[in-house]
């Protein structure tokens, strides 16, 4: 669109400021991963690849990434199912309490993580008497991931309308066949965007995880947190951070390509 020159300049400046704001700290992370001093000093006293080689050999880091990935995938799967169901329910039907249900879906992510964390911890350990572990963690993560999937699917359903599905059923397909052959494909990219965002949220989550993971499960954020306590190995976390930033380009770009709608997913 056409904008007067001043507006263009201001806009450009705003974009530049925002991008600088976003990337300067990330650059600090990258630089610090080469800092020969292990106590986060600035400016870096010297450069070294020591932390990079330490990270490559660090089984703990790799295990933590694997654990986080497993938890993320499980939580995303659950969130996909629940979120889609809820999205269908709320988009295709009018009923009493509709707004309340939509509020309920948003609640886990709208409430501070520490509240969700201690509530679920309390529920698991003292009310239900269960041990914390993989299951409790997946349950906790899925709870706040539902809303991400829900929003994407609901938005897509709103855009689609019910006509194509009705037509399909008029032509003799069962509900299941319609869902499989008509609805699901058109939801595809919304589901993907939602899944990706849900996975990202779960992957980097620390606060709720602290309260619901128990002793044996070490996701990546937990691993990073405990390594920050160890002064001599703390810089490895910067290596891990750098790797994550670079590695994340792939899934994000992929989801952009696959989703025709460039909204990049709605949180």
């Amino acid at each position: 669109m056409r904008l007067p020159l001043l507006a263009r300049w201001l806009l450009g400046a705003g974009v530049a400021v925002a991008l600088a704001f976003i990337y300067v700290p990330l650059l600090v992370v990258v630089v610090t991963s080469f800092n020969s001093d292990s106590t986060f000093s600035w400016p870096p006293r010297g450069l070294t690849l020591r932390w990079w080689s330490a990270a490559a050999q660090n089984d703990g880091a790799l295990d933590a990434v694997a654990t986080s990935a497993k938890v993320g995938m499980a939580a995303t799967a659950v969130a996909l199912v629940l979120g889609t169901m809820a999205a269908f329910a709320l988009s295709r039907h009018r009923f009493f309490g509709r707004e309340t249900v939509s509020l309920l879906v948003v609640l886990p992510i709208a409430l501070p993580g520490i509240v969700t964390g201690i509530a679920l911890n309390n529920a698991f350990r003292t009310v239900l008497g269960l041990d914390l572990g993989f299951v409790s963690l997946v349950v906790a993560h899925a709870t706040f991931c539902v809303v991400v999937v829900f929003n994407n699917v609901a938005a897509r359903l709103r855009r689609l309308g019910g006509n194509v599905e009705e037509a399909s059923m008029d032509l003799g397909a069962t509900r299941l066949a319609t869902f499989r052959m008509v609805t699901l494909p058109s939801l595809g990219s919304a589901l993907l965007a939602g899944a990706l965002l849900a996975f990202a949220l779960s992957f980097d989550e620390i606060i709720v995880t602290t309260f619901t993971a128990g002793a044996e499960i070490e996701t990546l954020p937990v691993w990073i947190f405990s390594n920050l306590f160890r002064p001599n190995s703390a810089p490895v976390v910067n290596v891990v951070g750098t790797v994550l930033i670079i590695a994340s380009i792939v899934p994000i770009w992929l989801s952009q390509r696959l989703s025709g709608d460039t909204a990049g997913g709605r949180i």
Partner: protein
């Protein structure tokens, strides 16, 4: 597919699948019930149930030495929260910071979201989306420590502008604004995308300058999206305790008080009471913004 010309096309066989499909079609509430059952069970019963259990705990107290919960009903926790000044101060301080973070994020997010949605050519737009989303994957802790390095004496900020806020509330606010920025950019971007270009052109045609168009056309349309983003920045800042520990210096926020009471004091009832305050704040906020349609824009 197999019928020849003139042959009768038979009705589909009435299998169980077909019959149930038809039944579901005739009874929408059955469909609805089926769809809602699992999510409601999970969120409504399990999640709300655990919140309720936590709320119940806030009416109990702790044996001060052993840390075990004493199940005797009392309003002591809430009385303490109300009477002692420090808690009120902490709550107000936290709400203030959360609001400041929201404003900073809104100001920072808007230009880039507008650019991405309205001005950027498609390839640039895609690249920008990737650029904005990438930091989400860098670990929260790593980013917070990066800010610690930046605001320390002779850190990045000091080297560039000669003075640094040091560890404290300013640093904490900046760091929180940094961490939640993508959560503000994305809904704004989506909201701006939905704003038809023709509307902006029409406003220009009618003689409005960019500033006026912004105030009277753009802003009202993206208000739901703005509020949606604010829900995230506000709630994420409200309960955060880790950032304050890393860059906040000697300060404490609401999240720290809750966390300390679970950890240090082993006083779950008091922590629960404090947590209830955050829940109350957020529920009020959500109820207030429901009218703006923000919840559809998340």
């Amino acid at each position: 597919m197999t019928a020849g010309a003139g042959a009768q096309v038979g009705l589909p066989r009435r299998t169980l699948l077909r019959r149930s499909s038809a039944a579901l079609h005739r009874r929408p509430w059955l469909r609805l019930g089926g769809l809602l059952s699992a999510p409601l069970l999970w969120l409504g019963v399990a999640y709300l149930g655990s919140l309720a259990a936590l709320l119940v705990t806030s009416f109990w107290s702790t044996d001060t030495f052993t840390g075990d919960v004493v199940r005797v009903w009392t309003l002591e926790n809430f009385r303490q929260l109300w009477v002692e000044d420090v808690y009120r101060t902490v709550v107000l301080r936290t709400v203030g910071i959360a609001a400041t973070v929201t404003v900073i994020d809104a100001l920072l997010a808007f230009p880039i979201a507008f650019y991405m949605a309205k001005v950027a050519p498609p390839r640039v737009q895609k690249a920008l989306v990737v650029a904005v989303l990438m930091p989400l994957w860098a670990s929260y802790l790593v980013k917070a420590y990066a800010w610690r390095i930046m605001v320390s004496e002779s850190g990045v900020v000091d080297s560039v502008i000669g003075v640094t806020p040091g560890f404290g509330l300013v640093a904490a606010t900046l760091t929180l604004a940094y961490l939640w920025l993508p959560f503000m950019i994305l809904p704004l971007f989506a909201g701006l995308q939905r704003l038809p270009d023709s509307l902006l052109d029409a406003s220009g045609d009618l003689g409005a300058g960019p500033a006026f168009t912004f105030r009277s056309v753009v802003l009202p349309s993206v208000l739901p999206a703005l509020v949606a983003g604010s829900i995230f920045t506000f709630s994420l800042s409200l309960g955060d305790y880790i950032t304050v520990e890393i860059v906040g210096g000697p300060s404490q926020l609401l999240g720290n008080v809750v966390y300390d009471n679970i950890g240090a004091a082993n006083n779950l009832p008091f922590a629960a009471a404090m947590a209830s305050v955050t829940v109350a704040v957020m529920v009020c906020y959500l109820a207030a913004v429901r009218r703006t349609g923000a919840l559809d824009n998340l």
